[in-house]
């Protein structure tokens, strides 16, 4: 186990910068998730960390050792791939033991450690099968087994759950979390799924366009997003955004003047953020009337879609409603196109700079 230090690592293909200077200090035993939309550079960063792609600039340290120019096999890391990358011509036992064999480990030692790993991951009954005879979840476990058997300094995981069906994904997510708690190896995990990032990480690194947007613990990201992108990316459904006007601490939105509880000196146009779950049915400190364009029922709660002046679609957000969403607890019927009252507390509004998107 070791800490990982990534110092000003960048990657470009000719004029195309896929990764802007990236620096990150990962503590020994920490579980760090790199998350972002596709093409944000998260997988590239992981491959550079693994040694599968060279960095254009920068340095990487694992423990006290600089590994920037070392071959993948010399970095003492293990990697779990999105498509598992199990060797199809080898049995599960040989797959798990392959890395040890390559390092010249003694045969009896390999057997002992493969058996241990198989027991931890509950794949002992399948040790003599080929990967093609396993289910998706079993293959994923074997891929994890191949990683833990080597007792490496760090685990690198590249979207390991995205090939699994929804139910199994939730199950394996918990298993990977439990596995990390049990063996405590420093882990860097790449995903595009913010739910995975939020549930698994000690710290989350949110990336977009090759740039780090924010590095923070999951709750901190949710409560204090650094900019519009992070605010829109974290949370499901995503945060509502409205273009509004701010004058002398008075915000003009939802057709009324709203006094902001927090003092702000900013004047002029701003983007207002309001999480769907902070909207309630009925009266609140600020109340307005809407006609829902769509109501989706999830049983105990409902997603109420409505239109409002100045509504703005966040980057990457699907725009099916072209409007705002309220996530309300209500089990009765909510007819569409019939006026309802929604309320919220202005203390829960987020304000962002209209031009830069930075949080005010």
């Amino acid at each position: 186990m070791a800490n990982i230090s990534i110092r000003n690592v960048s990657k470009s293909y000719g004029a195309l910068n896929v990764l802007r200077p990236f620096s990150l200090e990962i503590e020994n035993g920490e579980f760090v998730v790199l998350v972002g939309p596709s093409g944000c550079g998260k997988s590239t960063m992981l491959k550079i960390l693994a040694g599968l792609e060279p960095a254009t600039e920068g340095q990487i340290f694992i423990g006290d050792r600089e590994v920037t120019d070392l071959a993948p096999g010399d970095r003492d890391i293990a990697m779990v791939f999105q498509n598992y990358a199990l060797y199809p011509h080898l049995t599960v036992r040989q797959n798990i033991g392959f890395g040890l064999k390559m390092r010249g480990t003694d045969k009896t030692e390999i057997d002992r450690r493969v058996d241990d790993a198989a027991r931890i991951l509950e794949v002992t009954p399948y040790l003599d099968r080929k990967p093609k005879d396993l289910s998706g979840g079993q293959r994923q476990r074997v891929a994890l087994g191949r990683a833990i058997v080597r007792q490496p300094q760090a685990f690198l995981m590249d979207e390991p759950l995205s090939n699994l069906d929804a139910k199994l994904r939730v199950h394996m997510r918990a298993e990977i979390g439990a596995l990390h708690k049990r063996i405590g190896v420093t882990t860097v995990y790449v995903t595009h799924d913010q739910v995975e990032a939020m549930t698994m990480a000690d710290r989350v690194v949110i990336m977009q366009g090759g740039l780090i947007q924010q590095i923070a613990a999951p709750d901190e990201l949710f409560n204090n997003p650094a900019n519009l992108f992070v605010a829109g990316f974290i949370g499901s459904p995503g945060m509502n955004f409205l273009n509004a006007e701010l004058r002398d601490g008075q915000l003009t939105a939802f057709g009324q003047q709203i006094s902001l509880p927090r003092a702000t000196t900013h004047q002029g146009p701003v983007v207002v953020g309001l999480r769907p779950e902070h909207l309630t049915l009925g009266e609140g400190p600020v109340t307005f009337s809407v006609r829902p364009t769509l109501v989706e029922s999830l049983g105990s709660e409902k997603y109420v879609y409505f239109e409002a002046e100045g509504a703005r679609i966040a980057d990457g957000e699907d725009s099916k409603s072209k409007g705002l969403i309220a996530r309300v607890s209500h089990s009765g019927a909510l007819p569409r196109n019939e006026e309802i009252r929604l309320g919220f507390d202005p203390a829960q509004l987020y304000l962002f700079n209209f031009k830069t998107g930075e949080r005010l």
Partner: protein
């Protein structure tokens, strides 16, 4: 989906027609071998000899050095396969995995070499081989056949390597393999069906050659290949087609045997299970 009777009929008719087209020459070869010389020239032809000459195979085997010819063909084919596979595996793998400046153009250029007819290459090859003193040696066939095989085999193998996910080598490298080690330990075992198909193609191409053997080996009877040997059985005044056909049956047998042997490796789907 269940087939209707008419669909079944059409399907089987097509299969039978195709089989007839393919197998009729083979059948005719056997019939020719078994017929007497007189019967061969009879019109209309008979579709099964009235008096099959089963002893013809033993007679031809005793009269002609067929075993030596087969052995020479085998040496030339095995040599060509070995040399071409060595080159094509490396080249195909490089074209599949590494992007290099002009890589695609180079790949296409390799393929154009395949489009040159053998008769065009035979003259420069002859002059090269004679300056190395190789004329009359089986090495000429190994080298000449490789020039025919390598371009196409490289592309066949590139196509096969393209179907193998890169993550397998990446996993092998993280597990401690060098890039060459990852290829040898992971990619090549998985590519067995592709390698077998390519090797078979190479073998058949070399085995079927006549033009090069005729040009480079005609004055060295001890190195004659089977195809070249058979054509020498054609007489100036009389040709015993039944003898030639019997010898041809002997020459076809090794190819059939090799197909049967390699068939199990030709079955694809070995990569099933590498990915979801």
């Amino acid at each position: 989906m269940k087939r209707t009777f008419a669909q079944s009929l059409a399907l089987y008719a097509t299969v039978i027609f195709t089989l007839l087209m393919i197998l009729f020459p083979v059948y005719w070869l056997v019939v020719t071998a078994l017929s007497t010389t007189n019967e061969l020239y009879r019109l209309p032809p008979t579709f099964w000899p009235t008096d099959p000459q089963w002893d013809i195979f033993a007679r031809v085997w005793a009269a002609k050095p067929i075993l030596m010819w087969l052995w020479n063909s085998m040496l030339a084919a095995v040599g060509s396969v070995a040399l071409s596979m060595l080159v094509s595996v490396s080249a195909g793998y490089a074209l599949s995995r590494y992007s290099m400046r002009g890589g695609a153009t180079m790949g296409l250029f390799v393929l154009t070499a395949k489009m040159l007819p053998a008769t065009l290459l035979v003259i420069p090859l002859f002059s090269i081989f004679s300056s190395f003193g190789l004329i009359g040696s089986l090495w000429t066939l190994v080298l000449a056949h490789s020039t025919m095989i390598i371009p196409f085999a490289t592309w066949m193998l590139k196509g096969y390597f393209d179907t193998i996910p890169k993550e397998l080598e990446q996993a092998a490298m993280v597990d401690g393999c060098s890039p060459i080690g990852a290829m040898v330990r992971v990619v090549l075992p998985i590519a067995t069906p592709g390698l077998a198909a390519t090797a078979l193609y190479a073998f058949v191409l070399s085995w079927a050659d006549y033009a090069y053997a005729r040009t480079f080996l005609v004055n060295s009877p001890d190195n004659w290949t089977a195809n070249l040997g058979i054509t020498t059985m054609q007489g100036e005044y009389v040709t015993y087609w039944n003898d030639i056909s019997a010898a041809s049956v002997f020459i076809a047998l090794p190819i059939i045997a090799i197909y049967l042997f390699l068939e199990r490796y030709l079955v694809g789907g070995l990569t099933a299970g590498a990915e979801k």
